[in-house]
């Protein structure tokens, strides 16, 4: 089963996303967590990850820079932004940087299932 990396500076949100993945009935093996883009890159350096769910607004390294770094490292893993930053231009920038899709907070497990079902 696939492994998922959740990158969000809120530990509460990481737990909600993790719980929602299980509640949505998505087939997930291990769930790794990172508090910002820097921590996310460190996880990717040591773990095999099949899907990344990332916030945009984070300290140290935000989600947009994180996507660019992941792609610059030659990693093509799907990245879905889960964010309050739902503005059209920000999402366009995220997609052009290499994100696959976006999910707006707040979300329900069903919405996660609809967006992620085809990726897991």
């Amino acid at each position: 089963m696939p492994n998922v990396l959740i990158v969000d500076d809120s530990s509460t949100m990481r737990k909600i996303i993790s719980r929602s993945l299980r509640q949505a009935g998505l087939a997930v093996d291990e769930i790794f967590e990172a508090g910002d883009g820097v921590e996310g890159l460190n996880v990717l350096g040591s773990k095999s990850v099949d899907l990344i769910l990332s916030d945009i607004n984070m300290p140290n390294m935000d989600g947009l820079e994180f996507i660019k770094q992941v792609r610059a490292n030659g990693n093509s893993v799907p990245i879905v932004m889960i964010t309050t930053e739902g503005g059209e231009d920000i999402i366009k920038e995220a997609i052009s940087s290499g994100a696959s899709d976006s999910i707006k907070k707040p979300f329900t497990p069903d919405q996660l299932n609809q967006k992620l079902g085809g990726m897991l």
Partner: protein, 167 residues
């Protein structure tokens, strides 16, 4: 306590209409992320600046509009909210409560940003700041240019404040 005139003119919204955005966003966030239903009792009839055994979380908005979105919540309610969000009992105000209330402010701030910004690149939202204490005062809540929406849930009241200016 009112919406800044220049902001209202620019976004073509009255104070009540802006409050409605905040109310709808808060209800959606609480029903989906906190699993608690909340009811608004807008408008606030009295000025509230002093808080007792409370927690305040806030995010800043910086760009074409600047301001602060803040949530002021009794600590007892903040612990219930955090317990629901985490799916575990939380009986003290600490990192978990700070993080949960900060994330709610972040989500509400994101909704407000969507009202103010068409594309999302002209306004930035800060990382949440959280304070808690036995007795403290938030002066900005009494000033003009601040829309305050009271909410009731679980028999307790919390406030959402939105102070905005146009740059």
């Amino acid at each position: 306590m009112t919406l800044n005139m220049a902001v209202a003119d620019s976004i073509h919204l009255t104070e009540a209409e802006m409050a409605k955005y905040v109310i709808d966003a808060a209800k959606e966030i609480f029903s989906t992320m906190v699993m608690i239903n909340i009811e608004d009792c807008f408008p606030l009839t009295e000025s509230v600046t002093k808080f007792h055994c409370s927690i305040t979380s806030m995010v800043g908005l910086v760009g074409t509009y600047t301001g602060i979105l803040s949530i002021h919540c009794p600590q007892s309610l903040a612990m219930k909210i955090t317990s629901n969000m985490l799916g575990m009992d939380v009986d003290e105000v600490g990192e978990d409560v700070n993080d949960a209330l900060g994330e709610i402010a972040n989500m509400l701030g994101g909704h407000v940003k969507m009202v103010l910004s068409k594309g999302g690149l002209d306004i930035n939202i800060s990382i949440p700041t959280v304070i808690a204490g036995e007795d403290y005062t938030i002066n900005s809540m009494s000033e003009s240019d601040c829309v305050v929406v009271p909410f009731i849930t679980e028999g307790e009241r919390f406030l959402v404040g939105l102070k905005l200016k146009k740059e």
